[in-house]
Amino acid sequence: MNEVDQARLDQSLERAFGDGELPYCHDKTYRLKYSEHWLCSLSKADQQRCPAFKEQCGVSVAPEPTHDSAGGSLHVAPWIGAVAEVLFWGLIAALVVAFVVSLIRLRKRRQDLDDEAEERSSLEPAAQPAPAAEQSGDKDVQRLLDKARRAAERGELGAAIDAAHAAAVQGLSAAGQVELDRDRTNGDYLRDLRKAPPLQQQFKGIVAQVEVAQFGGAAPSRSTFDSVLEQVMALLRRLAVLSLLLLPLGLLGCGAQHAGGDPDRGPAGLYVFKHLLADQGAKVHMRLAPLSKLDADLGVIVAYEAELEAPEQKRVLDWVRRGGRLVVVGNSEFADAGEVEMSLHGCGATAERGPSQDLAPLKLAVIGEGSLRLAPKSESRVSHVVDVTCGGRPYIVTSFLEEGSITFMPERELLSNASLSVADNARLVAELVPAGEGTIELVGPWTGDGSESPVQSLKSAGLMPVMLQLFGLTLLLALRQGTSFGARRDVQTRSRRAFADHVRAVASTYARAGAGRLASGHYALLLIDQLRERTCPGQRPTLLQLAAAIARRVRRPENQIVQLLVEAKSAFEEQGDGQGVNHKLVRELEQLSSQAGGIS
């Protein structure tokens, strides 16, 4: 055990219990839960740092459900809550109805204005019918339907059918089912709807009738319009149902609820323990990830009712044997390695330092329903020190294994906020779990619960419904907007071209013109010019003189060179005879030019 600066400890405890972070500590109306009432035996101890705790232990216990009851009085009739809920939702419904009514009124007013404008325009003598593309600029489905009905009443059945058709297409577009554009035909929209066969079938029926009216030549009848309108309405109803199917996702998102208050700040929580260690300068870390690897800067492991797998236990024990310090709280599989046993014999509510301790005496308050028993094995290399006794029995024991040690505490309540608020318990814990020896890892039932993937993490955080909604919305946006998700831009063109591109362009032009032989003839002539420059610079040799010079340079028979040059020259002169390119000749000239000093 380590010596602790009492003054510093007191300051730290004052901060932990005095800054209002622990509601149960000062709020007399706080009602303990069943699981917290277990700690009430500690309220009888000396040096109470939580003035309200004793009073809370004197009143009845609150039901276990996790809603936060810290805020208000619950001494009301239970039916009040139900009435309040009904009133709340009633109010919300009334607001929604009022909003919808005001929207309808606004639309009606706008409609009347449109009608007036339409009537005015129809009275103008020189009014010309606008092209179809310009007539149908309206994107509001309801207004298009109204327009269709009004046109039908006026007897303009062609226009009525056009408007009904436009309403169907706009409805599909608004639902993200089709992509609307001026160059798109009904066939295009039907192809867009391949992924939704029922919608496709319905729209196909509409299109069949609409196109007869538009391009079939026959005058549309009232019954045709009625049929089209009926089918359009059915399609729009189906679209509305599809939209409603997205609602459950929203409700899922709304349904995500948090658990009640922070359990760490209740009487059974570990807030003070962590605060205390942090104040002493320790780095406290709640281990969520599995104990598959132990960090190098690990100072102390506090195993708080931890349920570790065998490999994890082995890893920790190995670490202890190499000099690590492990504090085991509650029943644990490490007891065997430390050669101690848990005993369920009660030992009373108080405890004191163990024998042979040089440190100042302590008055400790404990639950006292469990203690320890030393169980040394034969030929054991484990030594024990009893740190605390309770009713004469070992209560806290440290087992030394090779270089390291394991400290056993039989009751997990010893580290709780309630325990640390009474007697000298906080001092004892500070002595047992020394700060400043690297990171203190808190290993508990939560260890291994860390997410192994981002999806699991989102799920654990209750964000999955929100993410699904966002994903759904993104998908809809992508379907509507395309993959670009922004303003469409032309493909960026290169401002400059490589030389090879120019050569390819020239070559493709020659190839298209069937002038491969012409190109090869010119190339052969170019090669001869290069040979002339390399072998007879500054002169104008005849073909024979040139051949002699080249033959000397490349050390080949002169007659071969003469033959080659003559062939090349005649290939250039006879390039119009329609034969193919003489690749062999070109290759030989290239080779010759290369031997004579390289092709530039």
Partner: protein, 319 residues
């Protein structure tokens, strides 16, 4: 034969041919449209995609005569059209008709023959008659030439000049069938199918039926808006920046004809904009000569047709 009957008959034919030419339903329909529109079809695709099988199966189901001409560099015009042969018995020249005297003619790898031989075929395609030794002989009706060319190999070929390409009503590009279609095809072969025999293949129509359907196409109504749509598309092709030479009036006529045939195939007695748009690529792609710059940029005629179609508003559009 009314529109409905014609449509149903054509669908039966397409379905029957689709039994052996698996995964190429669209191609079968387009070739049928070429036949109905009294045009000729140029197929571009690698060998082994079932072009011969398509034509053979069509000929059998439609009850038409079929000949195949393999174009090679040494093929002579008379090998296509036929020639007069001296008969020692009758002491006179008798005309022996060439393979062109069939109702369905497959001109395989047309670009392998020299221009002279190509032009003899193209004359027959245009005039539907063959002139030899001063005598003009009519070709059997209906008459459809399906020419093929390989887009990959270019060595030893004689590309068709633009003027000759214009004689083809449709240029269709054949792709590979999907994996599932290819699997079904193999299963067909495992079951004993032989593409050379086409046994159990029923004749569904006769040449009279085909001629009646070609006449029925002419009865399909075309609204003024559709005519305007067609002319606007073709006109745009002439002023499109990437195009050096746009489509000819023959393209407008061709687009109108295939649109009508498409309407008939769909069982309609009127053309809708989608009929025009569906076949715009097939009718225009071989008629556009691109600017060298555009070709260098990798622009294809199909890309230009797409851009043209995007610029032209569809009649009675909602947008």
């Amino acid at each position: 034969m009314n529109i409905e009957q014609a449509s149903q008959a054509l669908r039966r034919v397409a379905s029957e041919v689709g039994r052996v030419l698996i995964g190429q339903d669209e191609l079968v329909e387009q070739v049928l449209i070429g036949l109905l529109a009294r045009g000729h079809v140029l197929l571009e695709g690698v060998p082994g995609l079932g072009k011969t099988l398509l034509v053979k199966a069509l000929a059998q189901t439609l009850g038409l005569s079929f000949r195949r001409i393999q174009f090679t560099p040494d093929l002579m015009p008379s090998d296509v059209t036929g020639s007069s042969v001296y008969s020692a018995k009758l002491s006179e020249f008798n005309f022996v008709p060439g393979p062109i005297f069939a109702q369905l003619v497959l001109a395989d790898e047309i670009n392998r023959a020299p221009a002279k031989t190509q032009s003899s075929l193209l004359e027959a395609m245009q005039d539907r008659s063959v002139s030899s030794d001063g005598v003009t002989r009519s070709l059997p009706q209906p008459f459809l030439v399906i020419a093929t060319q390989n887009p990959v190999e270019s060595q030893g070929t004689y590309p068709l000049p633009e003027a000759q390409l214009d004689r083809f009503l449709l240029k269709l590009e054949i792709g590979y069938p999907g994996k599932a279609a290819e699997l079904a095809l193999l299963k067909n072969y495992v079951a004993g199918f032989d593409s050379n025999k086409l046994e159990g293949f029923s004749q569904l129509l006769s040449e009279q039926h085909v001629l009646a359907m070609q006449d029925a196409v002419m009865q399909v109504r075309v609204a003024d808006e559709i005519l305007e749509y067609i002319t606007t598309i073709v006109d745009k092709s002439r002023s499109f920046p990437a195009v050096a030479l746009g489509a000819s009036p023959r393209a407008s006529i061709g687009l109108l004809a295939v649109s009508r045939a498409q309407a008939l195939l769909q069982g309609r007695d009127f053309v809708v904009p989608d009929d025009v748009k569906t076949h715009a690529h097939g009718v225009l792609r071989h008629r556009l000569v691109l600017q060298p710059d555009a070709e260098l940029e990798g622009t294809s005629p199909d890309v230009c047709v797409d851009a043209i179609l995007r610029e032209v508003p569809v009649p009675k559009t909602v947008a």
